[in-house]
Structures are given as structure tokens and as C-alpha cells.
């Protein structure tokens, strides 16, 4: 009686059996890689805006304080994107004819708000409060990255829940003295470990509650 399969069939069969064994694991690994990828998190993505506003120029160049535009950041959950009038306080004198500022002028003229593209987006079931982070000595650049060196604003961090938890589980490395919160060049000093621990106490940070779901989800 003749052979049903050729000699090669054996290797083929082995490969098939082996792949059945490992495919599930590959699939999971792939999925995880995808979830972490920029494609999903949007990290370091720059959206184009109606006006090519440069934080680099305004912060590093002119040395404007964050709070000049983001005025409610110390009191409110939202930092506040400045109303057109804020832009015009300067730009009614400076670059009054600049082409790129046209949208700002029309906005004021026609009383129609500027439609900016949100850069740091959190899901709707996440309740982030700027003011409390400021109050607890977490600086702007800790989450928003080196804004002072961004010609165009981009999302600096992955903003995944895991990333939030890094700090909520152990805030020590990130806590600044309150005066340095708005310092765009702040780098953790050598003795950050001790300082952070001290501030944890001084700022009454209840890190037992920090990882509770209710802290961010309501």
C-alpha cells in the first residue's frame, strides 16, 4: 500500500502543532504592545491648531507665567484655556497685522470663540483636578512635559491609568516646593527623596486614598 503523506509532512505537522501552542501567547503580547503604543495613547502627538501658538516663545522666550493664561489652574479643576480677550491684551499692540493671528482678531471682532484642538484628552469617566495637583506640589511639567521647549503643544505623556498610578502610588519623586510648581525648568534635585518624603507630610497627602478608585472615577 502506498504512503499517504510525503516525508515533508512530518515537519509540517510538527510546526502546526507547535503554532497551536504558542499563538495565544503571541496574540496577547501583540495586544499589549498595541495598547502601549503611541497609536493608542496619543503620546507625543502634535495636533494642528487654528493658531500655531508657541509655548516655547511665550514661556521661555517672554517668560510668561503659566497662570497668566491658564488663570483658573489654582482654583478649579480645569486650568482654563484663555478667552480671546487675554490674547488681545498684548496682541492689540503687538503683531497687530500678523497673518497667523487673523483667527484671534476675527474671534474678537465677531465674538466667535476660537476652536482649539484638545491636546491632553482624558476619558469622560476620569475626573482630573488641576488645582489639587498644584496645591500638592505637583508641577505643570511633570505631566505636560517640557512645555517651555515646545514650539507646538504636544501630549508629553501616555496618560494611561498605569501612568497616573506611578505617581499616585509613590508621589515622592515628583513633589516640589510650592514655589517651584510653575517652574518650567524644574529638575528633581539630588536630595529629592528626602524632600519628597518631608513634603508628603507637610502637604497632608493621604496616599492611602490616592489609589482609591473614587479618587478619579465617580
Amino acid at each position: 500500500m502506498p504512503q499517504i503523506f510525503g516525508p515533508a509532512a512530518n515537519s509540517v505537522a510538527r510546526v502546526v502543532l507547535l503554532s497551536i501552542l504558542i499563538t495565544p501567547f503571541l496574540a496577547i503580547a501583540l495586544g499589549y504592545a498595541l495598547m502601549r503604543s503611541q497609536y493608542v495613547t496619543g503620546a507625543s502627538i502634535t495636533r494642528d491648531q487654528p493658531v500655531p501658538f508657541s509655548h516655547e516663545h511665550h514661556v521661555t522666550g517672554l517668560g510668561l507665567d503659566c497662570r497668566y493664561c491658564h488663570s483658573s489652574v489654582e482654583r478649579s479643576a480645569v486650568a482654563g484655556v484663555p478667552p480671546t480677550e487675554t490674547c488681545m491684551t498684548c496682541h492689540s499692540q503687538l503683531y497687530t497685522q500678523a497673518e497667523m493671528l487673523e483667527p484671534v482678531r476675527t474671534s474678537l471682532a465677531e465674538n466667535r470663540p476660537i476652536h482649539w484642538q484638545r491636546v491632553n484628552v482624558l476619558p469622560n469617566y476620569v475626573y482630573f483636578d488641576h488645582s489639587i495637583h498644584i496645591a500638592k506640589g505637583v508641577g505643570c511639567t511633570t505631566c505636560h512635559g517640557p512645555v517651555g521647549s515646545m514650539p507646538l503643544m504636544r501630549q508629553a505623556q501616555s496618560l494611561t491609568m498605569g501612568w497616573c498610578l506611578n505617581c499616585h502610588r509613590d508621589p515622592v519623586p515628583y513633589l516640589r516646593e510650592r514655589s517651584a510648581v510653575f517652574d518650567p525648568e524644574w529638575k528633581p534635585p539630588a536630595q529629592q527623596e528626602e524632600d519628597g518624603k518631608k513634603r508628603l507630610i507637610a502637604y497632608l497627602i493621604d496616599n492611602k486614598h490616592l489609589t482609591d478608585c473614587s479618587t478619579c472615577h465617580r
Binding site: 509532512a9 512530518n10 505537522a13 502543532l17
Partner: protein, 174 residues
């Protein structure tokens, strides 16, 4: 290059008898192929006792242990939460998933080692080409000897086999 003698029997007993007696006449049994397991045959043809049970045990325990470790790490170390005031390390409920997965692990490891020892998959094998070999999976019992070098011994062997009731005796090259 070795040659083999294939003797085909109708029943397990016949084959078993042939295998036994072959010990006296210095014929070396290489292997036997049967449609159903024949008790005692494996020992007779000198198969080494299998350690598959041990392998399965170790495999099962390992999987279970790893799973329990995962539970403990996730619930106590990585993200401890208060669930209904139960202890973080609630060992009692933690036992159940490792138990189930452990048993599956044992089964899987066993399957792998079964395939390895039995050399499966083996879709292509010279024996399949042997005339009438297809019947070993149905109703024929085949005993395989190493064919003696000397012609007269070979003749004697064939004669003897037919005498003790081999339905068919043929040889095969590998």
C-alpha cells in the same frame, strides 16, 4: 543496512506466544504493532517503563504554583484593594483557579510527552509502505524481528514462524 522480518498474527495471544518463544531461538524482537494494547507485550519486547506520570505531576504542580503566585502578586503586591473587608491574601478562594489550571497543565504536559515518546506526529513512515501493514490498526497483530544475517537462519526463522501460526511472514528493508 538492517533488514527486518515481519510476522503477522490473528490474535494477541498468538503474537505474545511468538514473542516469548523467540527468546529461546536467538531472534531479536524489534517492535510489535497491534490494533489493541496487548497486556505484557511492552515488557516482553523490552520497552523501558514510562515516567509520564512523574512528568505530568511536575507539570501540574508547576502550573498551579505559578498561577497562585500570579494571584498573590496581583492581589497583595501590585494593586491591593479592600474587597468587602476580606483579607488581601484570601488563600482559601485563591486555591480554586490554580487547582483547575494545574490539572489542565498536567494534561497538556502529559500530551506533549506522549507525543514525544511516541514520536508523533509521524505522518510519513517506511512501515506504512509495507504490504498489509494497514491491517495492524484493524485486526492484525504484527511482530517485527531483526532478520538474521545467515540465510539458513533466516529460512529457519520463517519456517518456525509459519509453524507457530503466523498468517504471513515478509521482510522489509530500511
Amino acid at each position: 543496512m538492517s533488514r527486518m522480518l515481519l510476522a503477522e498474527f490473528a490474535t494477541g495471544e498468538a503474537l505474545l506466544g511468538a514473542a516469548r518463544q523467540s527468546k529461546q531461538r536467538d531472534l531479536r524482537v524489534i517492535d510489535a504493532f497491534t490494533p489493541v494494547p496487548v497486556d505484557g507485550l511492552a515488557e516482553l519486547i523490552g520497552a523501558t517503563p514510562t515516567r509520564i506520570r512523574l512528568v505530568m505531576f511536575i507539570g501540574g504542580i508547576t502550573v498551579a504554583a505559578l498561577f497562585y503566585l500570579l494571584e498573590w502578586y496581583s492581589a497583595v503586591v501590585n494593586y491591593p484593594v479592600n474587597s468587602g473587608g476580606r483579607p488581601l491574601h484570601s488563600w482559601l478562594p485563591f486555591i480554586l483557579p490554580p487547582f483547575a489550571t494545574g490539572i489542565f497543565g498536567a494534561a497538556l504536559v502529559g500530551l506533549i510527552s506522549l507525543f514525544l515518546t511516541a514520536g508523533l506526529p509521524r505522518l510519513h513512515d517506511p512501515l506504512f509502505a509495507v504490504e498489509g501493514f494497514e491491517r495492524v490498526t484493524q485486526d492484525r497483530f504484527v511482530l517485527v524481528f531483526e532478520r538474521p544475517e545467515a540465510a539458513q537462519h533466516d529460512e529457519a526463522a520463517r519456517a518456525w514462524l509459519t509453524a507457530i501460526g503466523a498468517a504471513r511472514v515478509c521482510e522489509m528493508k530500511t
